[in-house]
Subunit: 289 residues, 2 copies
């Protein structure tokens, strides 16, 4: 049976690291603070927000919630982001996305300062991630996958990795992080003809396709590490991933469960990003001084 790569241990280790950082910051009089901007009342956003509040309390991070009505205009959201971008007491800003369709997502992302962009949505963050050059923050889910590998001692260097999905939230950033980690990366997507064969020939498979159970037994091999990024709701109302976990368990080397896998690490990554942003902000000179 496959080794289960559960997220809890990884999250705990990250939380401990963040807690130490926030303690050190507080000793200097700095309280690391995250602003969460939500527009409207989507249940997923509210669930995510609750998880953030819980982890923030655990790790010593302040959370300021900015909840705008569903009918908010682009200008109102942009103004909120701008205001928080220039607020020296806020170190990280998370915008709950996707935003309502009437809101110009690009303008909102453009108003965010890259230094506080703890989920890697600004052009500066994307350019840095793409070019592999400078360190801004990458999207939390992608970083959570890398932390999983790191915690469980799986070095992607030189290994063949396949990423299923090319979204800006997980597929593309993951591909860039894996390339930076010296992995040989293949990106598959809806137009790929021989996805199963390509996956079967890879040592690491990351499934971020957003389609319940799409990775079946034809995708697996005995030495494979499978990271399941999918979060879907089954017809029976159960949370499940993009991988057919039952089919995978006897056939792969290791797999992350859903729930309790990558998803449970994401918020801990977010917290660490906030602590890191706070740390950088107190190392850079105060422009008002």
């Amino acid at each position: 049976m496959a080794k289960l790569l559960t997220g809890k241990e990884v999250a705990d280790a990250l939380n401990k690291e963040t807690e130490e950082k926030t303690k050190a910051l507080k000793a200097q009089g700095i309280v690391p603070a995250l602003a969460v901007i939500r527009v409207g009342e989507k249940p997923e956003d509210e669930t995510y927000e609750k998880a953030i509040l819980k982890k923030a309390e655990k790790t010593g991070i302040d959370v300021d919630q900015y909840t705008l009505p569903q009918e908010a205009s682009t200008d109102e959201v942009v103004e909120t982001v701008k205001m928080l971008s220039s607020d020296r007491d806020i170190h990280g800003i998370l915008v709950m996305r996707p935003l309502p369709l009437a809101i110009d997502d690009e303008k909102v992302c453009g108003a965010l300062t890259a230094e506080k962009d703890v989920d890697g949505i600004t052009e500066k963050s994307m350019a840095a991630l793409y070019s592999g050059k400078k360190d801004f923050f990458a999207p939390c889910t992608a970083v959570a996958c890398m932390e999983m590998l790191k915690y469980y001692g799986i070095d992607p260097a030189g290994k063949r990795s396949t990423v299923l999905g090319r979204s800006n939230v997980s597929g593309r950033p993951l591909a860039m992080l894996l390339i930076k980690a010296d992995s040989t990366v293949t990106i598959c997507h809806s137009k790929t003809r021989d996805t199963a064969e390509i996956c079967r020939n890879s040592e690491i498979m990351v499934v971020a396709a957003g389609k319940a159970g799409m990775a079946d037994s034809s995708f697996f091999n005995k030495n494979q590490v499978v990271l399941d990024v999918g979060i879907n709701v089954s017809p029976g109302g159960k949370i499940c991933g993009d991988v057919d976990t039952e089919a995978a368990l006897p056939e792969v080397y290791a797999i992350t469960p859903v729930p309790g896998g990558v998803g449970s690490v994401t918020v801990s990554v977010l917290m660490r990003h906030v602590a890191e942003a706070a740390l950088s902000s107190c190392q850079s000179p105060d422009p008002r001084a």
Copy 2:
């Protein structure tokens, strides 16, 4: 024997397209203009500049040359880029890179307005290319490869493409353009263990590794299209690519020669980018008006 995918026909077709654009622009009183910034006297830069001047004349584009001494400071280069960025009569800016080591490349790129960034070096251009969203310009060499495929009727959609090399000049941008074109892309690099096998299993192989003859007969298959991006000088002083062309000719379906392949299309892509930038500039309102 493999079909030779020569660059001349592709370049001619692009030049014709550009010529038509510049004619239409000139009828409106706009002369598309490219500024070329060179620091120092590197022979490669001077060769490239000569090729630019020749193609520019052919396609009706003005070229302004800004040549700074080898000892120029970062500030001087940045000031030149800024001055040209705000000059309404300049539509495209090309900075010859790599710049001398003493110059802060990032600051220079940061001074360039994305709309005139005809070789895709700014953060805005990179973020757009990475995210597959908005159209700024991608690096000319990467676009030249895509134009080669297009001209010769090779649709990368659904096909397995392997890109050898992960540089920001060719490997990474090519990977992003191929993903956008619905190809299934694998990125190989110096840390890849089984490069030959991966290449052998791909329908399109783009070699941008910067190493003469590194792709030998173990990399090929009968149905393969090979794009050779390398430009190296052999010990005998001859220009050669990254592919062992002699070995490839009897074993692949089609291959671009070096010289006379991708490289000969790059300058034509640059010219088209300048014409397109000029076209966009006259469609966007004059901020002085």
